[in-house]
């Protein structure tokens, strides 16, 4: 129950360890609803103590996947394994996993204490032990003062904590969280994200979370799985998902990004030279093996581009001239949409380092957008 050291945290990558046994395993799982395929031949391993996030657009099958772990939904094909046991057909009330529902699903006719004790009573645990465990959970979620309240006497945030306490009380092998923070306001959500991470580290329970919010997934997760239409597109750490997306879909889904389409010209020494249809030359460091004359996309995040009045680049590449099309002032940074002379909109963000600026870049001004050789990446699909 201690916080892992920085070294341990660095090392925690069981998915790269061939000897590690997965805790939850989907083996070629397909789920059909009538003729509709919600989950499509999906294989996935989740490891002990991992904080695993499922990310994807609405209707891509995240909830369905999670419900197959909880037992509310049986795969049409394939198997689900938990801790070395095939649980594909095990009913939900026998599975050592617990779920926190999006609607919290607190029992309205029981107070918070009784809600938390409900799962323990099913185990026929001794009364004194139940009382101890309930107390522990109330303390853990800072809900001591609300033990005797009914769910409808609690605020949204308090209900969320009560639901969390209830789902943790049985010390499940895996805790499933389906958009747990959806109903909370932004500030409370951010606070709760850190509390969730803290809890997960202290209890050592594997968390599997579904979220719509990519920032949330990046904040809490050890690994993120990006899904689309029942298929896994990429599984990687938040940093890799952001900085090394496997394709344009992932790059676009997680964060903002600019794409510049072009043809690979030369590919020597891990430096790829791309030329676009309107003659722009892009140079980019990349380890990917790319053929000459292959169609590729140069992709760069807005914060990795720079906007300036003069062209700062001397080599004649990685810079494009345009006109300020739109500016959004976000407080901590400003977001510029620059319309290049070829008619393409590039998104650039810049931190507002100082509170005042004598001559800020303004609408319809002529500017240059430039970037370095390692600002972006080259994608082939």
């Amino acid at each position: 129950m201690t916080k892992p050291t920085a070294a341990e945290r660095e090392k925690f990558e069981p998915w790269n360890d061939p000897t590690a046994r997965p805790l939850v395993e989907f083996r070629n799982v397909t789920k059909n609803f009538g003729s509709f395929t919600a989950v499509d031949d999906l294989s996935l391993s989740i490891y002990e103590r991992e904080f695993f996030a499922l990310l994807g657009p609405s209707g891509c099958g995240k909830t369905t996947l999670m419900r197959m772990v909880a037992g509310f939904c049986e795969p049409s094909e394939g198997e689900v394994w938990l801790a070395g046991e095939n649980i594909t057909h095990m009913p939900p009330y026998q599975r050592p996993v617990n779920m926190m529902f999006q609607s919290y699903a607190l029992f309205p006719h029981m107070n918070i204490e009784q809600n938390i004790a409900f799962g323990l009573k099913q185990e026929k645990m001794a009364k004194s032990e139940i009382a101890d465990r309930v107390g522990e959970m109330l303390t853990l979620t800072k809900m001591q003062d609300f033990a005797k309240r009914k769910p409808d006497q609690l605020s949204g945030g308090q209900k969320q904590r009560a639901a969390l306490a209830r789902s943790l009380a049985k010390q499940p092998k895996v805790l499933l969280l389906d958009e747990p923070l959806g109903a909370l306001d932004r500030k409370l959500r951010e606070e709760t994200q850190f509390e969730l991470m803290d809890l997960q580290e202290r209890l050592g329970i594997t968390f599997m979370i579904v979220t719509h919010d990519q920032e949330e997934a990046m904040t809490v997760a050890d690994r993120i799985a990006v899904m689309e239409q029942g298929k896994l597109i990429q599984i990687a750490s938040p940093r890799d998902i952001y900085e090394h997306p496997g394709n344009r879909y992932v790059a676009d889904f997680v964060g903002d990004i600019n794409f510049i389409e072009g043809i690979a010209q030369s590919t020597n020494d891990e430096l790829i030279k791309i030329e676009t249809a309107d003659g722009l030359i892009v140079e980019c460091n990349s380890a990917a093996s790319i053929d000459k004359n292959q169609q590729v996309w140069f992709a760069a995040r807005p914060e990795k581009l720079t906007v300036s009045r003069e062209n700062p680049v001397v080599t004649g590449s990685n810079a494009v001239e345009g006109e300020v099309w739109d500016i959004a002032y976000l407080g901590d940074m400003s977001c510029y949409n620059i319309r290049t002379d070829a008619g393409k909109i590039l998104k650039v963000t810049q931190l507002n380092h100082s509170r005042t600026s004598d001559a800020p870049i303004t609408w319809e001004e002529r500017v240059w957008v430039s970037w370095t050789n390692d600002a972006g990446m080259v994608l082939t699909s």
Partner: protein, 271 residues
């Protein structure tokens, strides 16, 4: 919504209510009439109530009625609740539409037809008519009312509550008794009260299906009225009206309270 009432609305509502309730009010007023003549006011008195409660035949009939109502309402509540669950939860079984239509048909079926067809059934099956045939007949016709009341509650029931219970290790059967039943209990109770009051004041169906020795209060009143209305009858009818009114108020209150609570919850969810 328009909260101020136009004169037109006021008049139509007054007329409508008067049309519905004036006869009943007259009946209650005349039950306190000291005169033996039903339509001539002879001063205030409660003596007819005393007389009615002293009338053994009337009291016997009342006792039969209460027993029939208690038994039939209870059984109808069990069946009606089960039917409602089947209709709301098992949406995919074959013939569901037919089943739901059949459950609700007695709601609009003329009582004469319900009564007569049950009579035919009992005759065909060779069952002697009496107390139990009335009970069975009342179960049949009140069950659909219970089903409607419980069904409307079940439709808004959040099934994730049941999933949460199972997720926490509770078997489906236990989940029904510890989670579902307590939460829908107010609507089941409302259904029971409704069935009870319906059985209490039914005349037609009881008339068809009763036998010797099983006379319900409405039947007794009806047969006495044919010999002339006495203030005694007015008194016992007023008691019946009071009982039914109280029953209906309890029923709608327990539904209403639940509704308000749920509305509050929904509000809290949004907030």
């Amino acid at each position: 919504m328009n909260r101020t009432w136009s004169p037109y609305n006021k008049i139509s509502v007054t007329l409508g209510l008067a049309f519905l309730y004036l006869p009943i009010i007259l009946l209650i007023v005349y039950s306190f009439n000291a005169s033996k003549l039903v339509t001539v006011w002879g001063g205030f008195s409660t003596k007819w109530y005393a007389a009615a409660f002293a009338n053994q035949a009337l009291m016997d009939a009342a006792w039969v009625t209460v027993r029939v109502a208690l038994i039939s309402a209870t059984i109808a509540t069990v069946f009606g609740t089960l039917a409602a669950i089947a209709l709301v939860r098992y949406t995919k079984f074959r013939g569901r539409l037919l089943f739901s239509g059949m459950i609700y048909a007695p709601l609009v079926m003329p009582e004469v037809i319900t009564g007569l067809s049950l009579l035919l059934l009992f005759v065909a099956a060779g069952i002697d008519r009496g107390f139990w045939t009335i009970v069975i007949a009342h179960i049949t016709f009140t069950m659909c009312f219970v089903a409607v009341v419980v069904q409307s509650r079940l439709i808004t029931f959040d099934t994730s509550l049941e999933e949460a219970a199972q997720d926490l290790g509770c078997t489906p059967l236990n989940t029904f008794f510890t989670i579902t039943l307590p939460i829908i209990a107010p609507s089941i109770f409302a259904g029971w009260v409704l069935a009870f009051t319906l059985s209490l004041d039914d005349l037609v169906i009881a008339q068809f299906n009763s036998g010797p020795g099983a006379t319900t209060l409405p039947m007794k009143i009806f047969s006495q009225v044919r010999l002339g209305v006495t203030p005694e009858i007015n008194a016992i009818c007023s008691v019946l009206v009071a009982l039914v009114t109280v029953g209906l108020i309890i029923s709608s209150l327990s539904l209403k309270r639940n509704e308000i609570k749920r509305a509050r919850e929904a509000e809290a969810m949004r907030a």
